[in-house]
Symmetry: C2
Subunit: 122 residues, 2 copies
Amino acid sequence: MKIGDLAARTGVAPRLLRYYEQVGILHPVRSSNGYRAYGEPAVERVLQIRELLDVGLTTDMIREVLPCLGVEPQPRECPPAKDLDGLRGQLVNIEKRIDVLQRNHQAIKKFLNAWEGADTTA
Amino acid sequence: MKIGDLAARTGVAPRLLRYYEQVGILHPVRSSNGYRAYGEPAVERVLQIRELLDVGLTTDMIREVLPCLGVEPQPRECPPAKDLDGLRGQLVNIEKRIDVLQRNHQAIKKFLNAWEGADTTA
DNA sequence: GCAAACCTTGCCATTAATGTGAGGGTTAAG
DNA sequence: CTTAACCCTCACATTAATGGCAAGGTTTGC
């Protein structure tokens, strides 16, 4: 499909789809006329990218973890072992993020409960 | 303490401490000479800010949640009820982030395990 | 075959977080 | 007192992610 179609199906502007290609996290092929051609899996891939970006990952991190997330790409390919280490790094990075978020989520919740369980009558 | 001291104790550049003040998440008082004066609690507060920024929160979000995180500020103050709603919003926002991260963490781990449990002899 | 709609590649703008330097006071050490 | 080290404000630069526009080729519908 062409870039406009993918944009329509993902809600992501063509401008960004081109950007994602530029930073190496999306790899459309080119038709004879130079148009980018995306396969069906691109839809899921783009949504995956958005999700990770929205959650605060950078395109650099996404480039590392994406190859092992979609069912589409090459889950059985051979990353030259260096990527395996990068991947492990991302894993602990993500663990740290989860930890921080959980800790703060906890604190906010506690604060909020103390409020609601105390006095709302003003 | 002065900005340089706080910078030294937190590892955060003075430039950024000024920036955090500018965006309203850090509130030093001013000495008679115009110098920013930070209290002891500022240290923890700055570290808290860094943690949240590193995890992908924006200063806008931090401004909302910070008042109920530190032990120092005003955990018993009265947010005009509008902030309470904002806080609840941030709470679900954080929950969503945690969810996405956990889901992807899971996937990466699975991928990594399939690798290690399969073949490392190449 | 023409016009509208879509594609391409630049390039310039913006926002958030951050870096950096200039120009000018202040403080602290000798 | 002088000088180095700090502080102030202002302003411009940078990086990442994003938005927008322009000039030009392509496709599609009529």
